[in-house]
């Protein structure tokens, strides 16, 4: 029997291959081109790759579900939808990253050293953030598509490792940024270990690493249930860490605050899509049969996450930390979609992820604009009276906050409505009640920010709102329009999602 080379379905893999290819080209560009021309070229490569990849996703959207690369990757409706969402969000993230002065000139230079100052002065600014982001995007696209535990783990690492680095790239307040990166890395490494541990036990249980194999073992195989439980719990720890669910959320505020804001935007929006994508696949496809084992725990975690996120956010005095806790609360709402374990839950989750992601990018884009002489200002006390000087910025920021709060006529409301409907349909009324109550708590701190912006007089040491660059402007306006449009006319988008929302088992 001769060696048979594995068949790779290049067509189905094209979106990911393009991104990975562009990432490698980006590394080469970084190594060989002079500092002056690097930034625009990197940006062009990245944007080009994302757009090309999007077009490929669009091209294969209609084709029947396929598995690719010897069954290790599955390309079905939800995967394509999530890949598309990740790519669109990344497109905006790149537009924010293009404002390169958020990043350290040389990540390797010691903070405050002469070396750092020299690099800034001479304009020798490294642009490794572009290829790093591309690698992360590639990992994110692979994560929900992975069809076995090994691929899943590889994707997890490919998406995580660049993010650890990117979190430490902030030009200002570099120590905070590096601390965030280290914290993220250490906790991330722990969670990866848990994930791997869980994967090993699931293999022990099912004798198979593929999701389909685990599925058939769960629904009536001879496997050892103790292994299954240990495996599920550990695997979930790894996934819950990535989505920032309580009690594995503690990295979120530090990393969100420390990372350069464009990266925070990218992480908050795109990582959530990828991580929930993988989670939805694992629980809908593989572990659906064991629902009675994990549903109570997940219900408790979802409720805890909502409450922790909403309550602690009230005490925050920094806008990025507040948005971080708000993202934790939203992770709780999204978990209700996982627990629902029905078609509606999947559709609602997809809608929620897309609408939340776009509003998040928009909100963080606005955060980058509020500055003083030393850079961005996160301190909420200094945002006071912003509406007096920049009414447009204040209005749009309020729109995003209202969307997060789930006020009707914004995308956030439709998301919340559909996801709670799915949870109610699955009979999980406790989580719906907890959800609306923590929404009420959450509304308080969103509104408090609006009050600060609109109804207080500006303090003495005021911040200025910089004139947004074309890229940032574009991001903000598109995000704002999308948030309103998805709130008022969600029907076409909901119908589109409906055509995507079936997992291949």
């Amino acid at each position: 029997m001769g060696f048979q080379s594995p068949a790779l379905e290049y067509g189905a893999l094209a979106p990911m291959l393009i991104i990975f290819g562009a990432a490698i080209i980006g590394v080469i560009v970084e190594a060989f081109l002079s500092a002056k021309v690097r930034a625009p070229i990197q940006l062009a490569i990245s944007l080009g790759a994302v757009v090309l990849s999007l077009s490929q996703v669009w091209r294969i959207r209609g084709s029947a579900t396929t598995t690719a690369a010897v069954n290790s990757v599955v390309i079905d409706g939800p995967v394509l939808f999530m890949q598309g969402t990740i790519l669109v969000l990344s497109l905006f993230a790149f537009l924010l990253i293009a404002d390169i002065d958020a990043f350290a000139a040389q990540a390797s230079a010691v903070p405050g050293s002469n070396e750092e100052a020299r690099a800034l002065e001479s304009g020798k600014i490294q642009t490794e953030v572009y290829p790093l982001t591309l690698f992360a995007i590639g990992g994110m696209m692979l994560f929900p598509a992975a069809n076995d535990l090994i691929t899943l783990f590889v994707a997890l690492e490919v998406l995580s490792l660049p993010l650890y680095l990117m979190a430490g790239l902030s030009r200002r307040r570099r120590l905070l940024s590096q601390e965030a990166a280290l914290k993220y890395f250490l906790l991330g490494a722990y969670s990866s270990a848990f994930f791997l541990f869980g994967a090993a036990f699931l293999y022990g249980f099912a004798g198979d690493v593929s999701l389909a194999g685990i599925r058939s073992a769960v629904s009536g195989g001879p496997g050892n249930d103790v292994f299954l439980i240990i495996g599920m719990v550990s695997l979930s720890v790894g996934l819950l860490f990535k989505v920032g669910a309580a009690p594995f959320h503690s990295w979120t505020p530090d990393v969100y605050q420390g990372a350069p804001t464009p990266i925070t935007a990218f992480m908050a929006a795109a990582t959530k899509v990828a991580a929930f994508g993988a989670m939805l696949r694992i629980f809908y496809v593989s572990l659906g049969g064991a629902v009675y084992s994990w549903k109570p725990i997940f219900t408790a975690i979802a409720i805890l996450t909502m409450v922790v996120g909403s309550v602690i956010a009230i005490a925050q005095r920094d806008i990025k930390r507040m948005l971080a806790y708000s993202s934790i609360a939203h992770a709780g709402f999204l978990l209700t979609g996982v627990i629902a374990l029905n078609q509606e839950g999947l559709k609602a989750s997809l809608f929620y992820l897309a609408s939340y992601g776009i509003a998040t990018i928009g909100a963080f884009a606005l955060v980058t604009l509020v500055r003083d002489s030393s850079g961005e200002v996160g301190d909420l006390n200094r945002w006071v009276g912003l509406a007096k000087r920049s009414p447009a910025i204040a209005l749009i920021f309020s729109l995003f906050l209202l969307s997060f709060a789930g006020i009707p006529l914004t995308a956030g409301f439709i998301g919340k409505f559909t996801i709670f409907t799915a949870a109610y349909e699955s009979g999980n009324i406790a989580v719906v009640v907890a959800g609306v109550l923590s929404s009420a708590i959450a509304a308080f701190f969103y509104i408090r920010v609006i009050v600060m912006i609109f109804f207080s007089d500006p303090a003495e040491d005021t911040v200025t709102v910089t004139i947004p660059s074309l890229y940032t402007n574009l991001t903000i306006w598109i995000a704002a329009i999308a948030t309103l449009a998805l709130g008022i006319f969600p029907a076409p988008f909901l119908d589109l999602i409906a055509t995507f929302a079936t997992f291949t088992r």
Binding site: I407, T421, Y424, V436, A443, I447, F454, F455
Partner: protein
């Protein structure tokens, strides 16, 4: 295009128009806003004239699919109850604009913004009463909060921000509880008749008692906050005290009616059995509201707080009328909503003029106004008498209907509620005596009387109060069939009066 949509759209067109006007020309902005609101009021009157009193179902119905995959449609229609409330809203807006001609100045935001907010609010008010799709109703219900919030927080006085936030958070909390219930009934509809939000279809659902109780509570708490009913009323005095008089008129006159309207349209009609279960509790709350609001009103030193507490008492009557579940009490409650709207509007507007003239809202600072400003004093007196339900003025009819209707089913509640009338005499006549009669307090000698603009604003209100007091038939003709339908849907029939010697 259908009349209801045109009515809702017209203020928005006005908003677009005002946005284009130069910000420096405040007078032009005000005139345009007034013109638009008068046009809307005319449409409202046309609609009332064209309303077929003999038909019990919804009229002026229109329906467009909005989010088909969720069974949501843009669906409007009016029955007698919603018609009378829409009429109230569209009549009050021009009066408020005219009466509070200078309210918009000196706020945090521009004059233009004030009128934009008022007109947006008008659209929402029409929408919230006209919606016959539960989801659409909820959208209006929540979205309405935003303009009100900015009106209180941006143009009010005193601790306006705190009051605005308190108002918003209370309302949002209630709204989110209602959202849970809406999701509940939506899912049940999906299981039984296919996903829909059409309230006529929803009222045919068969829901088991426990679920019904919980869903009912979600709606009821939201509406009880809105109405507001004791013990969920604490936001109202703050909000009413801090808002401008015009905003307070819309807040108490119209927005709070969404609460009592919702109790009829959603609580009672969608969850008849649960309504019956909770009736004793709600009647108790209503009676407490009547007495408690009245007592606190007597003790108020600030004239705006006083009016706010009288309203809590009046909302007690309305709620009592709704849940007594007789056709008389129900008609009375709906008529009461209208009458309370106009008499509170009169009180608040006149109080606003008094406050702006004197520069103080403390009742004790006024005195002897009867001699200095006779027209103002008389108007206040008449509005006050209507508020205490003097026979011959509009509120009497509705209060009497509520009490008579309640007595046939809950005699004890009716008897206790009657004490509210006596207390009402106190809380109105004490400020009337202090502020209007007696020697003129120092500093009040030169206060100007109402000018022509102000007379033009208050005259129609006073006229309406007197007219409906003597001849309430046109209003009752509109309301009665709808009230009868509500009672029937709730599964009640009027108790037969016991005639002596018939046994």
């Amino acid at each position: 295009m259908n009349l209801l949509t045109s009515m809702g759209l017209l203020p928005l067109i006005g908003v677009g128009l005002i946005a284009l006007l130069p910000a420096t020309n405040a007078k032009l902005v005000k005139q345009s806003a007034l013109l638009v609101s008068v046009l809307v009021a005319f449409l409202g009157i046309t609609m009332t004239i064209g309303f077929d009193r003999g038909v019990t179902g919804f009229q002026y119905v229109e329906r467009y699919s909005w989010i088909p995959s969720l069974g949501i449609s843009y669906q409007l229609g009016v029955d007698g109850i919603s018609l009378i409330l829409i009429l109230l809203s569209v009549l009050l807006v021009p009066i408020v604009i005219l009466a509070g001609w200078n309210e918009s100045e000196g706020g945090r935001f521009s004059v233009k913004t004030f009128y934009i907010l008022i007109l947006v609010l008008e659209t929402m008010m029409i929408g919230v009463f006209a919606a016959t799709d539960l989801f659409l109703f909820y959208v209006f219900f929540e979205a309405m909060l935003v303009p009100v919030y900015f009106l209180i927080g941006g143009y009010g006085s005193g601790a306006r921000q705190a009051a605005a936030v308190k108002f918003l958070l209370y309302s949002l909390f209630g709204g989110l509880l209602m959202l849970a219930s809406i999701i509940g009934i939506f899912v049940i509809s999906g299981n039984q008749i296919g996903r829909t939000f059409d309230i006529t279809a929803l009222s045919t659902l068969e829901i088991d008692a426990t679920t019904q109780n919980f869903l009912f509570l979600g709606f009821f708490i939201a509406f009880a906050i809105k109405a507001p009913l004791w013990p969920l009323h604490t936001w109202l005095p703050d909000a009413a005290k801090s808002a401008t008089p015009g905003t307070s008129v819309l807040l108490l006159g119209v927005l709070d009616k969404v609460g009592t309207f919702g109790m009829i349209r959603y609580c009672v009609e969608l969850f008849p059995e649960a309504s019956r279960t909770f009736t004793p509790l709600i009647i108790t709350q209503a009676v407490i509201s009547i007495i408690y609001g009245a007592f606190l009103a007597i003790g108020q030193k600030d004239i705006k707080s006083l009016i706010a507490f009288t309203s809590i008492s009046h909302f007690g009557f309305i709620t009592l009328g709704i849940f007594a579940m007789t056709s008389q009490s129900n008609s009375g409650a709906t008529l009461y909503m209208f009458n309370h709207g106009i008499s509170t509007a009169a009180l608040f507007l006149i109080a606003g003029w008094m406050i702006s003239r004197r520069g103080s809202s403390t009742i004790a600072d006024f005195g002897g106004l009867q001699r200095v400003t006779p027209i103002l004093a008389w108007s206040f007196f008449i509005a006050g008498l209507s508020s205490l339900a003097l026979p011959g003025l509009s509120s009497f009819v509705s209060e009497f209907l509520v009490l008579v209707g309640t007595y046939t089913r809950y005699p004890l509640a009716a008897v206790i509620a009657t004490f509210g009338i006596i207390l009402a005499a106190l809380y109105i006549l004490i400020p009337v005596q202090k502020a209007l009669h007696g020697p003129t307090t120092a500093g009040n000698e030169n206060l100007p009387d109402l000018n022509r603009r102000e007379i033009a604003a208050i005259a129609p209100v006073i006229a309406l109060i007197v007219a409906l007091g003597f001849y309430p038939k046109p209003a009752l003709e509109i309301i009665n069939p709808a009230a009868q339908v509500t009672i029937t849907k709730a599964g009640y029939s009027d108790p037969q009066p016991l005639v002596g010697g018939d046994k």
